[in-house]
């Protein structure tokens, strides 16, 4: 499905990013595994990908730093020769009620989750424009559509990502670069493990399919959006949330 394609997945050392990196590799893509701090975990993902018979490399970069991202994209394109797929997945949370949220908590989340998408997209755009093809898939969140108490920063960033997806899709369409977003709901990862049982049960009540999603559920939609099967889809946000927000 993705034989010979080269992909870069940000925040790919664990959670949804890891599942996406592995799924793209399973379909034949070579994958660059970006990480910010978890080098050991990134190395494990690289080794798992290599077992699938495709190329993999790990690349350290804080997505909120333009200089680090530029260096990363340069390294990936020189190793792989081209860059066909970018998955903007890296994200952090600093949850707090708005009245208690510190400016610093707001800024950190916006910098990584929103500005990081801008920086990474800009950094790969030159290569993709030259190729006259490319796929950019942004991992947003269902809370960016519906809102969520305690996550003003995260929600603002994710809603911003959905808006940026639409603009980027329009700007790049003439160069055959397709840009879409996925909006995962309640997916079982380290990030959602931090929630209390009470919060979890509250969320389950809101999900028509009455269960958590798995990282693979998200990864398979990303794989579809990265493939030729999605040739006529751009600027969209696909909800992967068990029907939570319709």
């Amino acid at each position: 499905m993705l034989q010979g394609k080269n992909a870069l997945v940000t925040g790919a050392s664990r959670g949804i990013g890891r599942a996406i990196a592995l799924e793209l590799a399973r379909q034949g893509a070579n994958v660059a595994v970006n990480y910010a701090g978890s080098e050991q975990k990134a190395q494990e993902v690289v080794e798992e990908i290599e077992k699938l018979g495709v190329k993999a490399c790990k690349v350290q970069a804080n997505v909120a730093s333009e200089s680090e991202v530029k260096a990363m994209v340069k390294e990936v394109t020189s190793q792989f020769g081209s860059l066909d797929i970018l998955v903007n997945n890296a994200g952090i949370t600093r949850d707090n009620l708005l009245m208690r949220m510190k400016e610093e908590e707001f800024d950190q989340v916006i910098n990584t989750n929103l500005k990081g998408v801008f920086i990474c997209t800009k950094a790969v755009s030159r290569q993709m424009m030259k190729q006259r093809s490319g796929r950019i898939i942004n991992v947003a969140s269902i809370v960016g559509v519906a809102g969520n108490p305690g996550q003003a920063n995260y929600v603002a960033a994710k809603a911003g990502v959905i808006g940026m997806t639409k603009t980027t899709a329009k700007e790049f369409a003439s160069r055959n670069i397709l840009v879409n977003a996925v909006a995962p709901g309640f997916i079982a990862t380290d990030m959602t493990d931090e929630l209390t049982d009470e919060q979890k049960n509250g969320m389950l009540d809101m999900i028509p399919l009455a269960k958590l999603g798995q990282p693979e559920d998200v990864a398979k939609v990303v794989r579809f959006l990265a493939s030729d099967d999605a040739n006529y889809i751009t600027g969209q946000t696909i909800h992967i949330d068990g029907g939570m927000v319709m």
Binding site: R126, M129, K130, E171, S174, R175
Partner: protein, 79 residues
């Protein structure tokens, strides 16, 4: 020197914008005379950077409106 840069710029424009070579004068505006949209201009600047092995800062790229602007800019950086 001037002619050499002009010819190389011209070749890139012909290739990228698919316009007749005789329309490409130093006075020609990319957007008004050569039918480039803003993304085309960004791409042309990228190509020029590669062709002449230089980096053109975004602020400077914004001042490149005509073929002559591009040629002059490149000449000023190469001298």
């Amino acid at each position: 020197m001037m002619a050499d840069v002009f010819d190389r710029v011209k070749a890139i424009i012909v290739d990228r914008l698919d316009v007749e070579e005789d329309k490409i004068t130093l006075e020609a505006s990319f957007k008004d005379d050569l039918e480039a949209d803003s993304l085309d201009v960004v791409e042309l600047v990228m190509e020029l950077e590669d062709e002449f092995d230089m980096e053109i800062a975004d602020e400077e790229a914004e001042n490149i409106n005509t073929v002559g602007d591009a040629v002059n800019y490149i000449n000023s950086k190469q001298s």
